[in-house]
């Protein structure tokens, strides 16, 4: 397991530029700055090239004999397929607006984590091969040859980008750096250079419908276990529909939330909300994952994995799909789904059966975000809430990158928070909403071996959390993403100790008063409610 230095060491960041030009500066691979490579059996299962046992610290990466040709052919085909990619390669004027916007640069100081330079790692090859002038002028025009070191550099830095798109927000040309990273990762796949933490979940998802590889009987078992806990806490037995045909709504959420702490409490929150409403909704053990590590792999994989959402909606005969608190799921849905897997003309534009509100913004995909659904319920006074049950929490809200920048979901989670909690404070404005800082583990980098770099990249977020902790006593960081729920607890322990992490619907579940429930003495984590400390004993 990777060891990492304490915060007082990590904070000593060297922002000076290296003596030599970037092309002549090599960065060594060392524990904590890279993720483990894809395992051969996983690559074989996915039908991906060059499965082998290797490590980034090896001198010889065992690339295929004709690796240069493979990379350049793929480069050419991507440029042909994606006009946006070509534009992004050509249009950058190196103004530097993005340079200090990346959390990995802020927390690490490595100039190659400036988004402009990260993209330049690719552009330099693009120029050398696809620009007539630069072919002749070579280095003078910023071109270079495709050598093995370039592949190594790509692997290091394109797996040090979380595709959070904060830099893109500041780019005057709107260059989408996440898409540049996606293209680079596709090129790397051609020669078998990829990471296991992305490919194994993608393989699991392809096989079982979710990243964790949970099979239907296990899914049901875990769900029942969480219903047991709800019964202990509320006295009410919830019997959710699973794989039921003919319901009005299919609900899809990340599998991390049925398995891992603290996501399970958000999962319980959903169950309580649906019970409270008597909602005609079913869960699915096949469409049992909102997330899509295909997004971090390739367009082909993303499309295949995402296809299950519509397939299952069609099989079950629902009218529309409700989606849970997941981050990159909403980038896939909002950005690509309607043309990639759609049009879903067998579905209807989502209408809340409780309030009658028609969600026209979701008419393209027929998929509605649960924060929009719940905010509408609160606005129409359809929820019976006791926000005092969340009085042990002094909360702030972390905008998860993709819902914030990928779909503009900014107000709804805050509106919910302010109605289910009585103590809420915002972090500084250049760290929230569209300008939110990444958790440091998005785009499939939320693995253990990458923790040191995650913590470096987590500095800006951690610093903002520490600010509200010290100023307002904040002890809870709420978020709407399962990767956040996995990555933010260690980040907070490191940069802002004393602050815990929750989902928004965990807090909703605490506040909702179910019909006929018993007097609650604990919250969903089975910690005593305010004033109930004695009854716990």
């Amino acid at each position: 397991m990777a060891k990492y230095p304490p915060p007082e060491e990590l904070i000593k960041i060297n922002y000076s530029t290296p003596v030599k030009s970037w092309m002549d500066t090599k960065t060594p691979f060392k524990p904590g700055n890279f993720s483990y490579p894809g395992k051969p059996d996983i690559l074989k299962y996915l039908g991906m090239p060059n499965p082998r046992v290797w490590s980034p610290t090896d001198d010889d990466w065992q690339l295929p004999p004709d690796w240069q040709r493979l990379v350049m052919e793929k480069f050419r085909s991507l440029l042909k397929k994606y006009r946006s990619f070509k534009v992004f390669m050509d249009i950058c004027v190196r103004c530097g607006a993005c340079a200090d916007k990346c959390h990995f640069f802020i927390g690490g100081g490595d100039p190659k984590n400036m988004p402009v330079l990260r993209a330049e790692l690719l552009r330099s090859i693009y120029r050398g091969e696809f620009s007539a002038a630069a072919k002749v002028l070579g280095k003078l025009a910023g071109a270079r040859k495709l050598e093995e070191d370039v592949i190594k550099e790509w692997f290091l830095y394109f797996y040090q980008c979380t595709e959070c798109r904060r830099c893109s927000l500041f780019c005057p040309y709107g260059i989408d750096t996440a898409e540049i990273t996606m293209m680079a990762r596709e090129l790397l796949h051609e020669v078998g250079c990829n990471i296991n933490w992305i490919l194994e979940p993608a393989a699991n998802c392809n096989r079982t419908g979710n990243h964790l590889g949970i099979q239907p009987h296990a899914y049901k078992d875990m769900m029942d276990f969480l219903c047991d806990d709800i019964e202990d806490i509320t006295g009410k037995r919830i019997r959710p529909n699973v794989n039921k045909k003919g319901c009005e709504i299919l609900f899809i959420t990340p599998s991390g939330d049925i398995f891992a702490d603290p996501g399970i409490y958000t999962y319980m929150g959903y169950l309580i909300l649906f019970e409270h409403l008597g909602l005609d909704v079913t869960w699915s053990t096949y469409a049992s994952e909102g997330g899509n590590f295909g997004l971090f792999t390739s367009d082909k994989m993303m499309k295949k994995i995402n296809g299950k959402m519509y397939n299952e909606a069609k099989r079950l005969g629902v009218k529309w799909i409700l989606g849970g608190e997941c981050g990159h799921m909403w980038r896939v849905i909002n950005q690509y789904m309607s043309t990639m897997n759609g049009p879903a003309d067998f579905l209807e534009t989502p209408v809340s059966p409780i309030t009658g509100t028609k969600f026209d913004a979701a008419s393209g995909t027929k998929m509605l975000h649960i924060a929009e659904f719940t905010a509408d319920l609160i606005k129409n006074k359809k929820l019976n809430l006791d926000p005092s049950r969340n009085d042990n929490f002094i909360s702030t809200f972390h905008d998860s990158c993709n819902p914030a920048r990928g779909m503009g979901l900014l107000e709804e989670p805050r509106y919910i928070m302010k109605n289910v909690c009585r103590q809420f404070y915002e972090m500084p404005e250049n760290t929230i909403r569209e300008q939110t800082f990444c958790c440091g583990g998005g785009a499939g980098l939320n693995n253990e071996e990458f923790t040191e770099t995650r913590l470096r990249g987590g500095l800006p977020r951690g610093n903002a959390v520490k600010y509200v902790r010290d100023r307002h006593g904040v002890n809870n960081l709420a978020c709407i993403c399962a990767i956040d729920r996995a990555t933010l607890p260690p980040l907070c322990d490191y940069w802002a100790p004393g602050v815990g992490v929750s989902g928004v619907h965990e807090l909703v579940g605490n506040a909702i008063i179910l019909d006929g429930e018993k007097k609650r003495t604990t919250d969903l984590r089975q910690n005593p409610l305010p004033g109930m400390e004695d009854e716990e004993e």
């Binding site: 483990y36 964790l212 590889g213 949970i214 296990a218 599998s255 891992a260 399970i264 071996e449 996995a486």
Partner: protein
């Protein structure tokens, strides 16, 4: 792939020292992990955790969520950490021969 030699047995392990194949698990493996995890003595409580983890894994193909482990064994999370200092995921699952869970976890 890295291998571990211990008491005449050879185990294939991943980068973090987890068994590559659950089927390779033996009592020697438990001994080996015990030493590397700094566990002084194996007690019936350790065995109870290991047996449940393996039983669950055989039925379900994944490790149980921590709350299920806690409820079934009757050990609070704090006690599981006392038994396995690096925790249920890294210590106990490793000793039981289970792979690491992946995804948004």
């Amino acid at each position: 792939m890295a291998t571990v030699e211990y008491k005449g047995k050879t185990f294939e392990v991943d980068e973090d020292g987890f068994l590559q194949k659950f089927e390779d698990w033996t009592l020697e493996w438990v001994d080996y992990v015990k030493d590397s995890e700094g566990i002084k003595e194996l007690t019936p409580e350790h065995n109870k955790v290991i047996e449940f983890l393996q039983d669950y894994y055989k039925k379900n193909g994944i490790a149980p969520m921590v709350r299920i482990l806690s409820k079934v064994t009757g050990f609070k999370l704090k006690h599981i950490y006392e038994l396995f200092p690096s925790g249920p995921g890294k210590g106990a699952c490793k000793m039981a021969g289970l792979p690491k869970p992946t995804g948004c976890v």
